[in-house]
Symmetry: C2
Subunit: 140 residues, 2 copies
């Protein structure tokens, strides 16, 4: 039997496909079956473990509008057991011509006994508009 | 010669000590000497590479107020070459009795030829006050 996800990128592709399709079962296949998995949404507390992560994605997917998501890789840090992908997500909603600025995500994947799985999705809100260059901000 | 930082936690301790002390040279010792290092501040674009990261910390440390930082570990994902620490940072400033809500950080460390170093510091702003439970937010 071959692994469900042979590479971190396979997991990432399925993650964003499930996100676009609002497919909760597909979304849950990408996460490791473990209690140490973590999802950090913009301006949100930490969600930890399979039950919380299923609950939050179920809430997201209960909305009618399915987004289109363009993913731009900014950096990869990988070894044989862990992979860290830093990406920008450009999210568009149908019927809304203006595209919001991209959000920044750190996605971490781990090699499990049956292939790679997601263990962390940490998303930051985008910079405010007309940002006046480098400014120190609370909590750097 | 022993490694400068024998464990990821050694790097993390020095990172927060340098942050509290506003010590730029100590701060730069924790980062890997590599162009793939990344720093993502709250509501900020991505800073990448040693020069940008030195510049942004220099700006932070140019302010008079040195913070006190309490770090609470939420999750560790580690193997022999990479370590991902998800933490809450409780930052206090002198003379300000109110403590802001903690920010959430993903810190990634990598085993380099001469010991562990930081390769990613990704900080999210805290949830807004009086958060009404789980709410789907843009860009999850």
């Amino acid at each position: 039997m071959t692994d469900r996800f042979a590479t971190p990128q396979d997991v990432e592709d399925t993650f964003y496909e499930a996100f676009e399709a609002h497919d909760l079962e597909a979304m849950m296949t990408v996460w490791a079956d473990a209690e140490d998995i973590v999802c950090i949404q913009p301006m949100s507390p930490i969600f930890q473990g399979l039950a919380d992560i299923r609950r939050i994605w179920g809430q997201v997917f209960s909305h009618d509008q399915r987004p289109e998501i363009m993913v731009h890789h900014r950096q990869w840090l990988e070894n044989e057991g862990l992979a860290v992908h830093i990406v920008e997500e450009q999210i568009s909603l149908p019927g809304i011509p203006q595209r919001p600025p991209p959000v920044i995500a750190t996605n971490v994947y781990r090699r499990e006994p049956d292939g790679w799985r997601m263990v962390l999705h940490h998303v930051s809100p985008p910079p405010p508009p007309r940002q006046p260059g480098l400014q120190p901000l609370q909590g750097i």
